[in-house]
């Protein structure tokens, strides 16, 4: 294999790993918790930014062309932990505001506006995170101590990501098989009934949101370690929507499905489309690829509305998406 091909595979594998982790985090929030987190990508972003500034060192010196706050030379693992925590803290702050409306779709719209605010603030406040130009030159984790070549290091990083995927899987698995998760599911299926059973629904919802936010930040920290740069362009609202497509395709609430969905959509479909024979390289051709992607998503939701791997129903037999969803009568009758 040529080095170029190896680069390509390294990139695909690294991105796939990061995407799987992100899809799990979103699946926890939306698939299990029912939170329509349209601001998901800002949690990945905060992890990436935190990991970047904490390993870049103080602004100035060789990086005079960029300005940012909180520069430090933390060891990567420590930076990773702090970045993850940063995601959790941001999720807590955002969640306290955005999860207040009762309706989930309403929460989704509030979260969308939060995502836009975040992008505008980071872009405008050049002194904080170098504005629209973003940060560059983020040190590669362990690179100096290892002294590997670019390709060898790439494969090493694939290994790091693989370990991270396994770690996150263990955490997610423990969470989703716990009694806590059953409560979360009950909350999603029927918040009113869950509340009546004595569950503190807002608190549970916030917990799910914070844990998901922390995992998202973790994925961002991994990603920036590979790309080496990070800017507002990398975390537009569109990225969140792609992750939603992943978990819808994979199967809401199903961790295996989320992983498969993210690989299928973000790795295979996106890269695969580029291999289609194209008559001419014009804007129209590129645009038609995206049309095709949209049509695939629509067709998928039509033929497989519950995804490739539908969530296994545990305690509740009634359908969540029936025509009478949400009416108390249907719930009472069917239980």
């Amino acid at each position: 294999m040529t080095t170029a091909w190896q680069f390509y595979f390294i990139t695909l594998l690294t991105y796939s790993g990061v995407n799987i982790i992100a899809a799990w985090a979103l699946n926890l929030q939306y698939g299990l918790g029912g939170i329509l987190n349209f601001a998901f990508i800002i949690f990945q972003a905060v992890g990436a930014y935190a990991a970047a500034v904490l390993t870049l060192g103080p602004a100035g010196g060789i990086t005079t062309f960029q300005t940012y706050v909180g520069g430090a030379h933390l060891p990567w693992l420590l930076a990773l932990v702090v970045a993850t925590l940063a995601g959790g803290v941001l999720a807590l702050l955002v969640g306290l505001v955005a999860l207040r409306p009762k309706r989930t779709d309403y929460q989704g719209m509030v979260l969308l506006t939060v995502a836009i605010i975040a992008a505008v603030v980071v872009t405008d406040e050049k002194g904080w995170l170098n504005g629209a130009s973003g940060l560059v030159g983020v040190p590669k984790p362990f690179n100096e101590s290892l002294g590997l070549g670019l390709i060898e290091y790439g494969w090493f990083y694939v290994g790091v990501v693989a370990v991270a995927v396994v770690l996150v899987f263990i955490v997610i698995h423990l969470l989703t098989s716990s009694p806590w998760c059953r409560q979360v599911r009950a909350m999603r299926e029927d918040p009113v009934a869950a509340e009546a059973l004595g569950l503190n629904v807002p608190a549970r919802r916030l917990q799910v949101f914070v844990i998901g936010g922390a995992i998202a930040a973790f994925s961002g920290a991994l990603l920036v370690g590979y790309i080496g740069s990070w800017s507002p362009g990398a975390w537009g609202p569109g990225e969140t929507f792609l992750l939603f497509v992943c978990i819808v395709v994979g199967g809401l609430g199903n961790n295996f499905g989320a992983a498969v969905g993210s690989v299928l959509v973000l790795t295979v479909l996106f890269n695969g489309l580029a291999y289609l024979p194209i008559f001419s390289y014009t804007t129209a051709a590129e645009a038609l690829q995206l049309v095709l992607l949209g049509l695939i998503v629509i067709a998928f939701l039509w033929f497989k509305p519950r995804g490739l791997f539908p969530e296994r129903r545990r305690r509740f037999a009634f359908p969540s998406a029936g025509p009478d969803r949400g009416t108390a009568v249907a719930v009472e009758e069917a239980r």
Partner: protein, 252 residues
């Protein structure tokens, strides 16, 4: 097993439901249910929670498509028709909750009840309803979401009367009302509907009160009719409490 001694199942009436199965997606919640209601009588369906009472009503109303069986109104099949068509055939439906248009005024609620009437008729019918429920007069411009539970149910019933229906379906009209109000509701408003030659199909949790104003009753449990009989004969039974829960073993 299914019927009380000495009575055969009733097979005719204004509304006739035969061998009806219905439910959500592929799960049938009621199976093989037969029900009949004649004009001028109140027929009550009682049974424990989850028996399928609301499912039955929704299937009749066209809110749920029947999986099997037939429904006819005045001899005309209505099974499988969408709800707005069923309504146009003269069926009024008062759901258990969310029974009024909360963001509309009381008057607008009544207007919506007479949606497919001609304009001059609407005004005429509103007068008619106000004659039956004079209390509504004072609250015509108020928002239906902001009136008391009793008043709200009155608006809901008034709304379905706009079309001069031949069948009125009531799903637990006393839910959430105080015992006193509940009794008033059943005795004064529901029972009085029969005077208009209306067939009334009623689902109630307050079984005793409901049976007192009913002519006939069905006991539904686990999606099947476990017992049917004249209302009075059920009221006379000693094991009434058991009957409500659908436990009729040994009663036959």
């Amino acid at each position: 097993m299914r019927t009380s001694p000495g009575e055969s199942p009733r097979r005719d009436g204004h509304l006739v439901v035969e061998d009806l199965s219905a439910g959500y997606k592929k799960t049938a919640i009621i199976r093989g249910v037969d029900v009949a209601v004649s004009k001028g009588e109140v027929v009550t369906v009682i049974g424990p929670n989850g028996a399928g009472k609301s499912t039955l009503l929704k299937s009749v109303m066209g809110l749920l498509e029947p999986m099997a069986g037939s429904i006819s109104l005045g001899g005309e099949p209505i099974g499988g028709l969408p709800a707005n068509k069923v309504a146009a055939k003269g069926v009024g439906y008062v759901p258990q909750v969310r029974d009024v248009f909360e963001t509309l005024s009381v008057k607008e609620n009544l207007e919506m009840g007479g949606y497919h009437l001609r304009r001059p008729e609407v005004q005429e019918r509103i007068e008619e309803v106000l004659l039956a429920y004079p209390q509504l007069k004072g609250m015509l411009t108020r928002s239906a979401g902001k009136i008391s539970g009793g008043e709200r149910k009155m608006v809901a019933i008034g709304r379905v009367l706009m079309t001069r229906p031949s069948l009125v379906i009531l799903d637990e009209p006393t839910a959430g009302l105080s015992p006193k109000l509940a009794q008033q509701m059943l005795e004064q408003y529901v029972a009085r509907l029969t005077a208009r030659e209306v067939a009334v199909l009623l689902v109630e949790q307050r079984a005793r009160e409901a049976l007192e104003i009913s002519q006939y009753a069905y006991v539904l449990a686990s999606g099947e009719v476990k017992l049917e009989s004249a209302a009075a004969s059920i009221l006379d039974r000693d094991d009434l409490g058991q009957v409500f829960l659908g436990r009729t073993e040994g009663a036959a």
